[in-house]
Symmetry: C2
Subunit: 352 residues, 2 copies
C-alpha cells in the first residue's frame, strides 16, 4: 500500500501538499505544475487512500451499518442487501452487515458497529410493518427499509402496497376477468390490508361489485386448501389475486384438483414469486415484483444524503434497469416505491 509519505518523498514536496492535491483542494493553493506531478506519481504507484487513517481525523469512515432481520429465513433479504451494496459502492461507501437473528443481542451488534465508526444505519425489516426503532440507532443518521416507525418520524422506504393491489387487479380486469377473487393472508401484515384496499378500488373503478364472498384470507396448509376449494366451488372466480407465493401455490394445487388450467381457464396474478417457484410452476404466473432491491438501493441513497447533508452529491445515481428515469435529487428519494408487474406469460381469461 503506497502512502502519501511515499508520494511526498518521490515528488519532493511535503505530505501536506500531497494531501491537498489528492483531495482536490489544490485550486489556487498549489502550483499547477506541482499538482500534476503529484497526481502522476500517485497514479503510477496506484495510490489508494487509507480510509481508516483518514477517519481518525475526520471521524467519517464511509462505512455504513446495515441491520437486518430474518436474513436466513426469508428469500427477500438478499435483494435488499444487494441493492444497498450497489448504492453504497457507487457512492463510495462500504457496508458492514449485521443481523439480529442469532444469539447476540441486537444492541451488542449495534454497539460493535458503532465502535467501527459507521456513519449511519439502515434498519431493514423483511415485511412492511410498523416498528419501533432501537434507541441505540437514533443518535446517528438512519433510514428504515420496508418498515415505518410507529411515530412516522424516521425516514423510511416502503413499497406502495395499495398500488400493488390496484395494478394486480387491474391486470386481471384487462385480461377480461370479471369474477375476480382476492386470496389474502390471516397474518396481520400492513401489506395485507393495503393490497386489499387497492384491489377493491380497482374493482370499483371498473364497476365490478362482487360482494365479500370473493375475498378470503387463509393460512395454514390444509385449512387454506379447503377454503380455496370452497371459494372455487361456490363463487366460480375467473381471476385470482394472490397475496403472496404461499397463496399462489395453494391456488395452483386447488386448480389442479378441479382440472382448471392456469392461463386458460383461470387467470392468476400473484405477488413476488420466489425463484424456485418461478422455475417450475410460475412461468404461468403473472406477478408483481416486490421492490426489495430498490428498497435497499434507495435506503442507502437516502442515508448517504442525510450523512452528507452539508454538501450532498448533486443527484442520485439510478438503480440499474431504471436508467431512463430522470435522476432524482438526493432530497427527493422516493419514500414509497412503485412496483413492477412481471409478465411471465400472458394472463388469459377463459370461461369457467
Amino acid at each position: 500500500m503506497t502512502t502519501m509519505k511515499e508520494i511526498a518523498r518521490r515528488t519532493g514536496v511535503s505530505i501536506s501538499t500531497v494531501s491537498l492535491v489528492l483531495n482536490d483542494r489544490d485550486a489556487g493553493r498549489v502550483k499547477p505544475k506541482t499538482a500534476v506531478h503529484v497526481r502522476r506519481i500517485a497514479k503510477e504507484l496506484g495510490y489508494q487512500p487509507n480510509p481508516l487513517a483518514r477517519s481518525l481525523r475526520t471521524s467519517k469512515t464511509r462505512i455504513l451499518g446495515f441491520i437486518s432481520e430474518e436474513i436466513a429465513t426469508t428469500p427477500y433479504a438478499g435483494g435488499m442487501i444487494l441493492g444497498a451494496q450497489d448504492a453504497a459502492s457507487r457512492l463510495g461507501y462500504v457496508m458492514l452487515t449485521v443481523n439480529t437473528e442469532g444469539i447476540a443481542s441486537a444492541d451488542d451488534e449495534i454497539a460493535a458497529l458503532r465502535r467501527y465508526g459507521v456513519d449511519g444505519f439502515v434498519y431493514a425489516k423483511m415485511f412492511n410493518c410498523l416498528t419501533s426503532v432501537p434507541s441505540s440507532l437514533t443518535s446517528l443518521p438512519f433510514v428504515l427499509a420496508d418498515a415505518q416507525d410507529e411515530e412516522h418520524r424516521s425516514p423510511s422506504i416502503t413499497p406502495d402496497e395499495i398500488q400493488i393491489g390496484y395494478d394486480a387487479t387491474r391486470r386481471l380486469i384487462t385480461a377480461g376477468c370479471s369474477r375476480i377473487a382476492y386470496i389474502g393472508s390471516l397474518d396481520p401484515m400492513l401489506a395485507q390490508g393495503q393490497r386489499l384496499v387497492g384491489h377493491l378500488q380497482a374493482l370499483k373503478d371498473a364497476g365490478l361489485d362482487l360482494g365479500p364472498g370473493m375475498q378470503i384470507n387463509v393460512s395454514g396448509n390444509e385449512a387454506a386448501l379447503a377454503a380455496i376449494d370452497r371459494l372455487i366451488e361456490s363463487e366460480h372466480p375467473d381471476g385470482f389475486f394472490c397475496f403472496n407465493d404461499a397463496r399462489a401455490m395453494q391456488l395452483y394445487l386447488c386448480a389442479a384438483r378441479h382440472g382448471l388450467h392456469i392461463g386458460e381457464d383461470i387467470s392468476v396474478v400473484g405477488v413476488d414469486n420466489h425463484r424456485v417457484f418461478a422455475e417450475t410452476l410460475s412461468p404461468r404466473l403473472t406477478s408483481v415484483e416486490l421492490p426489495h432491491y430498490e428498497m435497499g438501493f434507495w435506503a442507502v441513497s437516502k442515508l448517504v444524503s442525510l450523512i452528507e447533508r452539508q454538501n450532498p452529491p448533486k443527484a442520485v445515481l439510478p438503480p440499474p434497469g431504471r436508467d431512463t428515469a430522470p435522476l432524482p435529487s438526493f432530497e427527493s428519494v422516493p419514500a414509497k416505491i412503485h412496483c413492477r408487474l412481471i409478465e411471465k406469460e400472458s394472463v388469459q381469461s377463459g370461461g369457467f
Copy 2:
C-alpha cells in the same frame, strides 16, 4: 466515546499504562493497585477501544471480507451470511459483505475491501463447485465456502454430498420403499454426481438393484413433468429422492396428476426445501438440509484460525444447535459438513 487519554487523565497515569492494563499485558509490569483502578474507571466510563485507531499501529482491523455471488437470486446466501456473522461476532470480528452480482467488477469490490484493511476473505459460492480463485484474494488469508478451488490447494468448506445421497436413500429404504427413484438435474453441478453416488451406494448396501431406468435427470418445466410422468408410469417407484426443490415440486405435481398421495402411496425425500415450499406443500416432505449456516460459520472460524495462526484461541465455539458436540480445535475445523435429515412428517411407504 471515551478514549484512553480520558482514562489516563482521570486515573492520573500515563496513556501507556492504560494501554498496557486494558490489553491485559500488565502482569508484572504495572502495580496491581494501579491496574485495578484503571480497569474500574474504564468500566465506569464504558470504555470501548477504537479498533480503527488500533489498526493503524497493528495493521489488524478485525474486519473480515465476505464475498458472495448470487445473494439476491438464491435463497441460500442468507443462511451462509448468518452463520458467518455469528462466528465473526463470537470471535470479536465484524464482516464487510460484498457481492459480485451487480455492476461493479469483483476486483473493484475486493480492492475496496483491501483499502479497509480486512484481515482476510471468505469467498462464498452458492452451489458446490470447482472454482478458480481471483488472484486478488490470495495474498491474504482466505477460505472458500461451498466450493473447492481447481487445484485443491485452498482451505474450503463444502457439504458432504455423497453422504446426502446416501442418507436420503437410506431413509427411504428404512421406510420400507423398495423401488426407489432418483430425480436429478441436468445441470453440471458437483452435487449432482456425488449425491447420485451416495444414492447408488445406499441401494447397493441394501441389496437393491434397480437398473438405470430408475435414475432420471431432468430440467425445464414441461419436459421435466413429462419425464417424471413417464418414470411413474413405467417404473412404478414407491420412493423418490429428489435432487432439489424444483424436482420435488415437479414430483408433487405429477403425483397429484396420478392421484398418488405423498406419505401414503409414495415416499419422498428431497434436498433443502425452501421456506415458501415448506409452508405449503412440504410439511409432507422429509428433507436433507443443506448446511449453509454451518458452512458460513466454519468458513469464518477457519479463516480466523488462519489469521491468528501465531496464537489462535484454544477451541472453536460451536454453532448453535451443536452445543453437545465436542468442540473442535481451530486446526480441525471440518472441511466437509455433515448434513441433517429434517423429518417434516414420517415418510411412509404404501403399495403403489
